[in-house]
Amino acid sequence: MTTAADHIDPAVRAEALASLLIERGLVDQATMDNFIKTYEQSVGPMNGAKVVARAWTDPAYEERLLADGTGAIAELGFKGPQGEHIVVLRNTPKVHNVVVCTLCSCYPWPVLGLPPSWYKDPSYRSRIVREPRAVLAEFGLELGEDVEVRVVDSSSEVRYMVLPMRPAGTDELAEEDLAALVTRDAMVGVAEVAAP
């Protein structure tokens, strides 16, 4: 079965769909615009970075975060669609977690925003499972042979986020300064957090 007007440019098809739905009163432009603006401007990896920095500086929070990701993340005010079942995995000197969604693009929106294009790409989604060390090396992350690499598959039931290791030499940094070190890639598990 082909979709209606499948040969037509997607920009035109998106306009056609929007115009029909708006005419029927099923959606309104302001609601759409609000969602778009929110995910373009307000929700992104800076949220996850604050969660990581809190976990690094507050052991009790870290414990809650690892036990109930969604609940501990909501403590900082981050919730919403695709955040209902967040599980946080802690990287250690012996275990490195890296996240993928092999079937589509499941991703913990409240803490990381919308996924980057490489996360949705067919090549990342298939290769990170088959040859994780090679893919991580392409991201610039070379892990020692003694480090176990765990590739975890996000789904509608579970959205994973990685708690990266706190870099050495950051004992003096305040939580806010620690958050500024944390990158999206580190929270997906394709990078580590570099020391300042």
Binding site: T3, A4, A5, I8, D9, P10, A11, V12, R13, A14, E15, A16, L17, A18, S19, L20, L21, L26, V27, T31, M32, F35, I36, T38, E40, Q41, S42, V43, G44, P45, M46, N47, A49, G77, F78, G80, P81, L103, C104, S105, C106, G113, L114, P116, S117, W118, K120, D121, P122, S123, R127, I128, F139, S156, A179, A180, L181, V182, D185, V190
Partner: protein, 139 residues
């Protein structure tokens, strides 16, 4: 959505050069073209009012991505949001929100408009979509 999709912290939003900066400054923009954001906004709006079920949409998206990958083993020409849009068209049609024939007719009508009709005319502000080319750290 329950009014709190996370917190917009002005201090962080203004820190446009730091690694914890907003999405557009953390490697790439969220949407590569206005129609992608339109497809996204439509989907979330329909989900919020319960007119579509997120899991139905997700399953449709998985089917579209799987079908595309089966038909394009080289990966050439990949567009995530084209799969997304097709999944949304199918989900909205299956729920009876749009008539597939009316949708096809409307698309044909719009496509036949003279050059210069702006198919993105009704999009939201923030028209910088096409200015930055994303430079993903691609594996």
């Amino acid at each position: 959505m329950n009014g709190s999709v996370g917190r917009a912290d002005p201090a962080y939003l203004l820190d446009s050069s730091g690694p914890a900066a907003p999405p557009r400054d953390n490697g790439e923009l969220v949407f590569a073209a206005p129609w992608e954001s339109r497809a996204f906004g439509l989907t979330l709006a329909l989900n919020e009012t319960g007119l579509i079920d997120w899991e139905d949409f997700r399953q449709a998206l998985i089917r579209e991505i799987g079908a595309w990958e089966a038909a394009h083993p080289s990966g050439e020409g990949w567009s995530y949001y084209e799969c997304w849009l097709r999944a949304l068209e199918r989900t909205a049609s299956a729920k009876g929100l749009v008539d597939p024939r009316a949708l096809a007719d409307r698309a044909e009508q719009l496509a036949a408009l003279p050059a210069g009709h702006d198919h993105e005319a009704h999009d939201h502000e923030g028209d910088q979509h096409n200015i930055h080319n994303e430079t993903p750290n691609h594996p």
